[in-house]
């Protein structure tokens, strides 16, 4: 396997930065997320970032197009995406899996979301295996292999003081080619991942939920929920958005931005009717969507076990407990 010392990682990133706009997981302003690589960024390799990389592909606020409205006329003007290839270094298996979910949503079922596709096509990914799961991690229960990500261009392995690299796709081979001179060939074994703290058994949970729309567990589960959007905004798979506009006199910018199924306004119709009026319906929809509706539609769970929602929930509403409760329900 081609390896590099972690201490020399920045040399590689510097080389790659000549070709790509490199994004790395880093600590910044008392949180952590993927940011543009610079020599002085505080890269973190021992744990996953607090905010998922989804905003690289699906920004929290994304301008879509502009309009000029003068009296009765309305002219449309497209907005072009910034050009250039991006390279996302150090994406964990859970977050790679979430891109798989995003691809299903944005690229299939008859319509392609061009905004997403343009960004997706311009990003090359280097996935990084996890040696020690964080306490809130439960990816293996969601069918994610923490050592081998789906859809990565390059798979990187955490080998202690070194990182091993393996090209997966053609794009990945190009990346390796660029840095080949800085890598050494070594016999290295992919280490076994550490134990998961959270024991979750999600087998059959999708099927079990088929008859559970009216189950009393939703009353119980939703009681403590505050209906904030923290879980949905840190979730790497949550992809709901709203479309709105900013009006500046004649100039209108149409944009889309993240939305959350936890907010009452989300399904509120103009006439006043709201099909999901209370937190019970909203919480039920969130978990049903993740564990039943999405599998039904796209044949995969809409949860990758990254544990971020467990980490941020103000009231510790824990999806693994919900899964347990579902499985134990009559």
């Amino acid at each position: 396997m081609l390896v590099v010392l972690k201490a020399k990682l920045k040399d590689i990133l510097n080389t790659l930065a000549e070709e790509y706009k490199v994004l790395v997981p880093a600590k910044i302003e008392d949180t952590s997320k993927f940011i543009s690589y610079k020599d002085n960024v505080d890269i973190i390799l021992d744990e996953n970032v607090k905010l998922s990389p989804k905003d690289v592909f699906f920004p929290q606020t994304e301008k879509m197009y502009k309009m000029k409205t003068v009296k009765t006329s309305m002219e449309l003007e497209n907005i072009t995406d910034e050009a250039g290839k991006k390279l996302l270094f150090g994406v964990r298996s859970c977050d790679m899996k979430s891109l798989d979910c995003f691809d299903q949503v944005f690229l299939t079922k008859g319509y392609i979301d061009e905004f997403y596709k343009n960004k997706r096509d311009s990003v090359v990914t280097i996935a990084l295996s996890c040696s020690q799961p964080m306490q809130t991690c439960f990816c293996s229960a969601m069918g994610v292999d923490s050592q081998k990500a789906v859809g990565a261009d390059v798979q990187a392995y955490d080998l202690g003081d070194k990182i091993g690299l393996e090209a997966i796709s053609d794009e990945g081979s190009k990346v390796i080619e660029l840095i080949k001179g800085q890598l050494t060939e070594e016999g290295a074994e992919v280490p076994q991942p550490g134990e998961f703290y959270l024991k979750v058994d999600a087998d059959g949970v999708s099927e079990k939920l088929n008859g559970m729309f009216e189950s009393p567990i939703w009353d119980d589960v939703s009681k403590k929920c505050l209906n904030c959007g923290a879980c949905t905004y840190v979730c790497p798979t949550c992809h709901c958005f709203d479309i709105s506009q900013e009006v500046r006199g004649e100039n209108v910018t149409k944009y889309r931005c993240w939305d959350s199924c936890m907010f009452g306004e989300y399904t509120q119709m103009a006439g006043g009717h709201n099909p999901r009026p209370t937190k019970k319906e909203r919480v039920r929809n969130r978990f049903m969507h993740k564990l039943n509706y999405f599998p039904d539609r796209y044949n995969m769970l809409l949860c990758t076990g990254c544990g971020r929602c467990i980490n941020v929930c103000p009231v510790n509403l824990d999806i693994t407990s919900v899964i347990k409760q579902i499985k134990e329900a009559e």
Partner: protein
């Protein structure tokens, strides 16, 4: 910490068995040694789920809004901060004091869950910031009290040294500080939703049709949110620090709330929100002798 778990369970069980309360709100253990989660018990046999340990940090008062129309009484365990939250809701006529049974608990100060996650299970976990700043560890109102009051010596006035330090900076420094922080804001509204002072039936930030706050996330809109919220909870904030605790991107929200508390104390006389239920709020009243700066 005195282990009151058994007493808590017993009290809750009695309330439910005698039918004095329809439901009892407390805490149960979460999935981690350092986590608890609010629990709503309506069957006597479920009272075994209740616990009392150094991680029962959630302020439960705001849940009373969900039980406004319950036919019957609600039992609720209250620490100092929870009890002030209850008073606030009663003061805002959001809650009928007669409909709650407050079971007081003296709070030794809860440990910092975020730090516990970072430091691991064997570390010495520091007290949560909100508890370090707490001046009312004993409930200020209760119907039943379990355990013993600490009557701990607490500072008479809120510690605003961090606010004062901020005030000494130049306008641009201050602006940079707040905007770098609010640039991170996800606008998940956890701070608002967890706040026992926020009890509007429909929040201004949810009235998208009015156009006050666009959904677009940018630093200007986020600052609009932060400042408007700070003003809206001005005089109502009970310093429970829940907003700052739940922020998923660690914005020092209390720096804004404490600034307003400090100024209220200075301008209109010392005021601690949530200590009583009859008086007018600082911003809901006035005094002819208020400082005059508008001449």
């Amino acid at each position: 910490m005195v282990d009151l778990t058994l007493e808590i369970r017993k009290t809750a069980k009695e309330l439910l068995e005698k039918g004095e309360a329809k439901v009892v709100l407390g805490w149960e253990k979460g999935n981690f040694p350092y986590s608890t989660t609010p629990v709503f018990i309506d069957k006597p046999e479920d009272t075994e789920r209740l616990i009392w340990d150094e991680y029962c940090i959630n302020n439960l008062a705001l849940y009373m809004l969900d039980y406004k129309h319950l036919d019957g009484k609600v039992g609720i365990f209250v620490k100092g901060c929870d009890s002030r939250g209850i008073n606030r809701l009663v003061q805002d006529k959001q809650l009928d004091r007669e409909k709650v049974i407050l079971i007081g608990l003296s709070c030794p100060g809860m440990k910092d869950e975020k730090k516990a996650k970072e430091l691991g299970p064997n570390a010495d976990i520091p007290m949560a910031q909100k508890c370090q700043d707490c001046r009312y560890p004993d409930p200020v109102v209760y119907d039943v009290f379990l355990g013993e009051k600490q009557n701990k010596k607490v500072p008479e006035k809120i510690d605003t040294s961090d606010v004062e330090e901020m005030e000494t900076k130049s306008p641009d420094e201050k602006y940079r500080f707040f905007t770098t922080n609010y640039e991170k804001c996800l606008r998940c509204y956890a701070c608002r939703n967890v706040c026992p002072a926020c009890n509007c039936k429909e929040c201004i930030f949810d009235q998208t049709a009015t156009g006050w706050l666009a959904k677009a996330n940018n630093v200007s809109n986020n600052m609009f949110f932060a400042l408007t919220r700070a003003m809206h909870v001005g005089g109502r904030c009970i310093e429970c620090g829940e907003c700052e605790r739940v922020c998923s991107v660690n914005i020092p929200i209390m720096l804004l709330n404490k600034k307003i508390i400090k100024d209220i104390n200075f301008l209109f006389g010392d005021y601690d929100a949530g200590l009583e239920t009859e008086e007018r709020l600082p911003l809901g009243g006035y005094d002819y002798t208020d400082p005059e700066e508008f001449m």
